[in-house]
């Protein structure tokens, strides 16, 4: 049973990542490859706040969000001036820089040794140390995030982000500041990634930089490409599908030595098939071209 709750916790965490990145990819049309960087920054800031200042979960969460959003401004203001492929490259380089910093800033992050024995939060004197309790906790937080992202997406703000995706010139001719819209979308996506990061830290109770590589960013992008972009159902379906796929491989008895490679092959194949035959993904409203 614990295994099931662990998988469901991972689904909760990735649904936050996918739906927040959807605000950039699906709504605004910004293919960002740095989502795992913000996920990692949030995980480290939140966890270190707990270790260094002895804060409880929610103050740590607030610090993680605030810190990650602040860093997002530093990155987004210069990189959002770039268009199309150049923005993708800028986000990719930021992703790489963050990994290198997490890996080498040993005095703070302990680098490859990682942060160990991360305490699971205690709420109102009730410990979340069991996998079931932690799943309920992350599920509730994920639902709150999904609700917020739904309200943000279904608003004039969300509509303007889609308009930016379609035609930036027209948006600015309608009196809307496109830089501000993009920077705000970027900050919101980063803030939600930080929430996912802190939930992840409490789930595995161990942090090291290899959880936040470029491959992880690409994984979240794949969730959106395969599930579909621009609405809520697409990224959710993608999350459930791509997170449970390796578990299914485990059950059909594929040996551990082959499974990770097979998984990569299946992801790659899925992306190619989706882009070729159903560019809007399984349930998305906006097709990649």
């Amino acid at each position: 049973m614990n295994y099931l709750f662990q998988v469901l916790t991972i689904i909760s965490i990735y649904s936050i990542l996918a739906l927040s990145l959807n605000l950039l990819i699906g709504y605004t049309g910004l293919l960002s490859l740095s989502h795992a960087a913000f996920y990692g920054i949030g995980a480290y800031i939140g966890t270190l706040s707990g270790i260094v200042f002895g804060l409880s979960f929610f103050p740590c969460l607030l610090l993680a969000i605030a810190g990650t959003v602040a860093i997002s401004f530093v990155v987004s203001l210069p990189s959002l001036r770039l268009k199309g492929d150049y923005f993708v490259l800028a986000s990719l380089s930021f992703q790489t820089i963050v990994f290198v910093v997490l890996y080498n800033w040993i005095a703070v992050t302990r680098g490859p040794f990682g942060l160990t024995n991360i305490a699971r939060p205690t709420l109102f004197g009730f410990s979340l140390s069991s996998d079931f309790a932690y799943f309920v906790f992350s599920g509730i937080i994920a639902l709150a995030c999904l609700g917020l992202l739904y309200l943000i997406g279904h608003s004039p703000f969300g509509r303007l982000l889609k308009a930016v995706r379609e035609d930036e010139i027209a948006v600015s001719a309608l009196g809307k500041d496109i830089t501000r819209l993009k920077v705000t979308a970027f900050a919101i996506a980063a803030g939600f990634a930080a929430v996912a990061g802190l939930l992840f830290a409490g789930h595995v109770r161990y942090l090291d930089p290899t959880s936040f590589t470029l491959l992880e960013s690409v994984f979240v992008v794949s969730i959106i490409i395969i599930g579909g972009a621009g609405n809520v159902s697409g990224p959710l379906i993608g999350t459930v599908l791509l997170v449970t796929l390796p578990e299914v491989l485990r059950f059909v008895g594929i040996p551990y030595t082959i499974a990770p490679n097979l998984r990569q092959i299946i992801y790659g194949l899925l992306i190619i098939l989706v882009l070729r035959f159903k560019p809007q993904g399984i349930s998305g409203e906006y097709g990649f071209e």
Binding site: L148, L151, I152, S155, P156, F157, G158, R159, L160, K162, A163, R165, E166, D167, I169, A170, V171, S172, A173, L174, G175, K176, D177, I178, T184, I188, Y286
Partner: protein, 251 residues
């Protein structure tokens, strides 16, 4: 007093002088037409006013304020709306959503307010939806409200772009070939609308190749060739000018 003034404006692109020392004025309650051959620099003048390009020399004033160098969204917020020649619609948004993006100062444009002031936002959305349908009804697209903009014919797209710029509710409208591509049966209605907007107090700048449209709906005209103002006055005076007749009309 003129609402919009271009004061000795020049602009070169890669050494080619697109606009040479042009001075123009636009007035409230009047349709001012810019005419001239393709490549004369008319659309560049609109781009200069809107802030998409900035002049090398000269200045642009709106209601007495220097707006030279402002970004396009600020120019629009000051009250200048722009209809693009090549429509610039949001293709994969619905016809209705295309209009809804254009309303100014929406509470829900701020994501924090969209969450915290949800009720106010929804109330505003209902009234904006009504207004959007009125505008769509006005251009005859009400039954297409929930179609994607990319599925409209070119003429319908043009009308949607007109409805969208009206939703901005700007005092000054820059209309770049509003009748091009619109079905001939609808053109008189469109020109009628432009006249009505001017009578209601707006300043209208109109780039137009249809000379009947110019003589029927414009109060003033500038003839522009090779980036320079060649002649200005009433449409009949300008079209009667011998240089204009020879170069533009060919008689």
């Amino acid at each position: 007093m003129s609402v919009l003034v271009l004061d000795h404006v020049s602009k070169a692109f890669d050494g080619i002088q697109a606009v040479k020392d042009v001075s123009l004025t636009f007035e409230h309650n009047a349709v001012t037409a810019l005419i001239g051959p393709n490549g004369a620099g008319k659309t560049t003048l609109f781009n200069l006013i809107c802030g998409f390009v900035h002049p090398d020399e000269g200045a642009i004033y709106y209601r007495g304020k220097n707006i030279t160098g402002l970004p396009p969204w600020r120019v629009t917020r000051m009250g200048i709306g722009r209809l693009f020649q090549d429509v610039h619609l949001f293709d994969r948004l619905t016809v209705r959503e295309n209009i809804l993006t254009a309303f100014q100062n929406q509470t829900g444009e701020n994501p924090l307010k969209a969450v915290l002031l949800r009720r106010r936002m929804l109330r505003e959305e209902r009234s904006h939806n009504r207004r959007a349908l009125e505008l769509l009804d006005f251009v005859g697209l009400a039954d297409k409200a929930d179609d994607l903009a990319e599925n409209l014919s070119y003429g319908q797209q043009k009308l949607l772009a007109v409805a969208r710029v009206l939703a901005v509710d700007a005092d000054t409208l820059l209309l770049d070939e509003p009748t091009a591509g619109v079905s001939p049966a609808l053109i008189p209605d469109l020109l009628d609308l432009i006249r009505k907007l001017a009578t209601s107090g707006k300043a209208i700048a109109l780039i137009e190749h249809n000379m009947n449209a110019v003589t029927n709906s414009a109060d003033r005209a500038y003839y522009i060739a090779d980036g320079e103002v060649v002649s200005h006055g009433s449409p009949n005076e300008v079209l009667g000018n011998p240089t204009v007749r020879m170069h533009y009309i060919g008689i």
